[in-house]
């Protein structure tokens, strides 16, 4: 940011306004960095998966998933489509409020929330029907570890969406950039959840 022409003064019992030395909004930078750390957390779970599948599994020469287990690849694909759609609806919601379209914001957030909830419920149902438990093998431990970690993040994301939805209904957001951070930040988190699912899906179900 270019240096300001004059410096900000304090008012006795307020701090002086800090200089903005970057074009990036502090709170957006904060959520991006936090997502960076969450990506690394997933990285540790992917590492455990790599050890179980490649280092141990490949050495043994067994099939993956090990006999007699199977993964519901098609259903997970449907779930992937659901989650990707929810990212689009989230984007629509954010674009709506940027154009001062409150109805679009509320509709988009609601749709995103419902799609995300559907994803989570389908996942939960699959957990009960999948035919193996976390205690069985390293394969199942890493499977439930990765998908479970992701599910926990979806749960947090649903919470954030719910808070944003309540505030949207009450009219707390507006078209100016600093007036809809409460939508944008949950949106960024939700996109991270979506992209991470694609990585989890491809790694665990497809490859």
């Amino acid at each position: 940011m270019a240096a300001v022409a004059h410096t900000e003064h304090a008012h006795g019992d307020h701090p002086p306004v800090a200089n903005q030395s970057s074009r990036v909004d502090a709170r957006l930078l904060g959520i991006y960095l936090f997502i960076g750390s969450e990506i690394m957390l997933f990285g540790s779970f992917f590492t455990a998966y790599f050890f179980a599948r490649v280092v141990v599994g490949a050495q043994a020469g067994d099939a993956w998933p090990p006999e007699p287990y199977h993964l519901p690849v098609f259903l997970a694909l449907l779930n992937t489509i659901i989650l990707v759609t929810s990212s689009f609806s989230m984007h629509w919601a954010l674009q709506s409020i940027k154009r001062n379209n409150r109805q679009g914001l509320i509709a988009g957030l609601t749709l995103t929330f419902l799609l995300g909830l559907t994803f989570l419920l389908i996942q939960a149902r699959e957990y009960t029907r999948i035919g193996f438990a976390p205690q069985d093998l390293a394969f199942s431990s890493t499977f439930f570890g990765l998908t479970g970690l992701h599910g926990a993040h979806v749960f947090v994301g649903l919470n954030l969406l719910a808070y944003a939805l309540v505030r949207s209904v009450r009219g707390h957001y507006g078209p100016k950039a600093h007036d809809h951070l409460g939508v944008e930040i949950p949106g960024i988190y939700w996109h991270f959840v979506d992209v991470m699912w694609i990585v989890v899906y491809v790694t665990v179900y497809v490859l």
Binding site: H9, G30, S37, S44, V56, P134, Q135, L137, H172, K176
Partner: protein, 650 residues
């Protein structure tokens, strides 16, 4: 027309602090009174939850201790943080009600009580951090003294094997997670916003929360001693599997404590990064930042990227213990050495997290007390970045003898030796900074120069250990203990002392006693070397580490080291007395006792509540000592300029 952002209540201008709550409202107001009933309630709730859930699912036994411990260590700290007020603002936000605007009445510290509550002032948080971490330094140091008491003579005198294992495990855990890492966070918290000309950190409420996670984590680690069966965690701070999975339940306190300490660390690092990137004073480009800011920038990046891996490593142990999963059980397809890879992928960068801020502190202290610009400022900054990047490529040098695939050893050896290059650049630059400087050996300078020599010794033993053949002989011996302590005590702790003495006047508004400071340094320096240097020798001769007893041939040296370690412990008392007595009744400190150029010294000691009356304009480098007419920053309003004050005399 309703304001469409944050939706604050109509702002009352310049109002007085809200009145203290009366009657029953005192019990529901944020603070320790609320903690006193919420925390036990949460404890009961957690217990009931586990019992009820297990009963409902038909899982016998209902009182499953590991599950209870996990529930307690998650729910009770959370309840504590909520009760003390760490989440008040966010609960308002979640509820959809109008959030309360910050009226800043709670900002800063006017009495000692302000240090014991949620306080969003980075200066208060910095002091909270430093005091808390030194409390844990004393506790962890006492554990070390107990160890040395046991090791003074061959044979078992005071503790049994398991208790001894618990001693070294707790000692390292507390020193790493509750002293070195957060002490740098605390010093940085106090100094960095001032140094970059900002009124506070980017996220003050997050800052307060990240401090309060620390006593939580510390109490959690210490609570392991309360576990009746088998006692404290005793698998080392490294907590390798399969031992960690088979250990008594006290191990769970380590696993969860790491999560809380890690969360604290990550939150602080996020705060530092955003603050440094977005809140620098006008004119402070990255190349005009003091090196302490660069160092914390690099460290914070390390923390954000690496810490989640140690969280993951402890999650896997917890899952294997409590849920009986098989991440590490080879019979079920798990990979035990995988734990070490995941653990060390954090823990090697962790040692840089424990050192880089110290490098920054030393750069500040050397420039000020040698009255010279830092030699090679740009390369100093770039070498920090190089260490940051290379630090991720060396983790398996902790695993040369772990039984991992042999092909990994030579590459890891190469990267390990390579990382000596940027470190060496820094050491030589510091020496060049001292060259032909006007050196003033005040206490901070003693610690800084002492650091350089001790850290080089530790670095040299590190180079030896980086070579695979030598490590195969020296691994798990006292040679490693010597190396660790030269880089962590002679390295990190010396820089923490340097920083505390250096910024003591700024933080407390008082001068510490210089003679006691020098006495502290010299007693520590001598005792430290007598304690740890012989460890190189006994280690190479074959004394293993992490043992409560040893071959009698090592007895004499162990007696020497133990006596020296008692002296080392005693020397810390000098420091504690100096700090407490000086803070209470030391001479009042001027704004700039060291005639330094950086921005924190251009405000009063202690600084005004909002740091600056006006944000300064930075116009030059922060290290132009001895350069006539050089300016670091100007304050437009008062026409006061930040440049080296003329010293009367010489």
């Amino acid at each position: 027309m309703i304001e469409l952002h944050e939706h604050h209540e109509p702002e009352a201008a310049h109002h007085a602090p809200p009145g203290k709550p009366r009657g029953l409202r005192r019990l529901t107001a944020a603070g320790w009174l609320r903690v006193s009933w919420v925390a036990p309630l949460a404890f009961g709730l957690a217990t009931g939850l586990v019992y009820g859930a297990r009963a409902a699912m038909g899982l016998h036994p209902y009182w499953e201790f590991p599950v209870l411990i996990v529930a307690w260590t998650v729910i009770v700290p959370l309840a504590f943080l909520i009760a003390i007020g760490g989440f008040d603002y966010w609960f308002y936000w979640i509820s959809g009600r109008p959030t309360r605007p910050e009226d800043h009445s709670g900002h800063g510290a006017r009495s000692w009580k302000d240090y014991f509550r949620i306080n969003t002032d980075h200066k208060v948080i910095g002091v909270q951090y430093v005091v808390t971490t030194f409390a844990f330094f004393v506790i962890a140091g006492l554990l070390a003294v107990f160890m040395r008491a046991e090791l003074a003579r061959p044979g078992m005198q005071f503790v049994d094997n398991n208790q001894f294992n618990g001693l070294f495990s707790e000692h390292a855990t507390l020193m790493i997670f509750l002293f070195v890492i957060p002490a740098f966070a605390g010093l940085g918290n106090f100094v960095i916003p001032l140094m970059i000309g900002a009124p506070d950190m980017a996220f003050p409420r997050l800052n307060a929360l990240s401090y309060w996670l620390l006593p939580v984590a510390g109490l959690m680690f210490l609570s392991a001693y309360l576990v009746p069966d088998g006692g404290a965690f005793a698998a080392g701070w490294t907590n390798y599997v399969p031992l960690a999975v088979e250990q008594p339940d006290g191990n769970l306190f380590f696993q969860m404590g790491v999560q809380w300490a890690g969360a604290s660390s990550i939150m602080t690092a996020l705060n530092f990064l955003v603050t440094i990137i977005t809140m620098r004073a006008p004119g402070m480009t990255f190349w005009r930042m003091p090196l302490l800011v660069w160092a914390n920038f690099a460290t914070s990046t390390l923390v954000v990227v690496a810490t989640p891996f140690v969280a993951g490593s402890q999650f896997f142990i917890m899952f294997d213990r409590v849920l009986h999963t098989n991440f590490f059980d080879f019979n079920q397809g798990g990979y035990a050495v995988g734990y070490q890879h995941i653990f060390w992928f954090y823990s090697h960068p962790a040692v840089y997290i424990m050192m880089l801020p110290g490098f920054g502190i030393i750069s500040e202290v050397l420039a000020v007390f040698a009255r010279k610009p830092i030699f090679g400022y740009r390369l100093m900054a770039l070498s920090l970045m190089a260490i940051l990047v290379l630090g991720f490529s060396v983790w398996a040098h902790h695993m040369f003898v772990a039984g991992m695939g042999p092909w990994l050893r030579i590459p890891m050896m190469a990267t390990t030796l390579l990382i000596a290059v940027p470190t060496g650049i820094k050491v030589f630059s510091w020496l060049a900074t001292l060259w032909e400087g006007r050196i003033h050996f005040k206490t901070p300078m003693l610690w800084a120069v002492g650091f350089i020599s001790m850290f080089v010794i530790g670095g040299l033993s590190g180079i030896f250990l980086g070579a695979v053949p030598i490590d195969q002989h020296a691994s798990d011996t006292y040679y490693i203990v010597a190396h660790i302590h030269y880089v962590l005590f002679g390295g990190s702790v010396f820089t923490i002392f340097a920083g505390v003495y250096h910024w003591f006047p700024k933080m407390t508004g008082r001068m510490y006693n210089e003679r006691l400071g020098k006495l502290h340094f010299w007693t520590t320096f001598v005792a430290f070397n007598v304690t740890f240097f012989p460890m190189h020798w006994v280690g190479l001769r074959g004394m293993p580490r992490r043992v409560s007893d040893y071959d009698p041939v090592f007895g004499d040296w162990n007696m020497v080291m133990s006596i020296a370690s008692f002296a080392l412990g005693a020397s810390t008392l000098i420091f504690l007395y100096n700090m407490i007595a000086s803070w209470r009744s030391g001479p009042i400190a001027p704004a700039n006792p060291w005639r330094a150029l950086t921005l924190e010294w251009q405000v009063s000691s202690p600084p005004p509540i909002f740091n600056f009356d006006e944000i300064p304009q930075v116009v030059g480098s922060p290290y132009e000592y001895g350069v006539r007419g050089a300016r670091h920053a100007v304050f437009n309003g008062s026409r006061a300029e930040v440049h080296e004050p003329e010293k009367v005399g010489h």
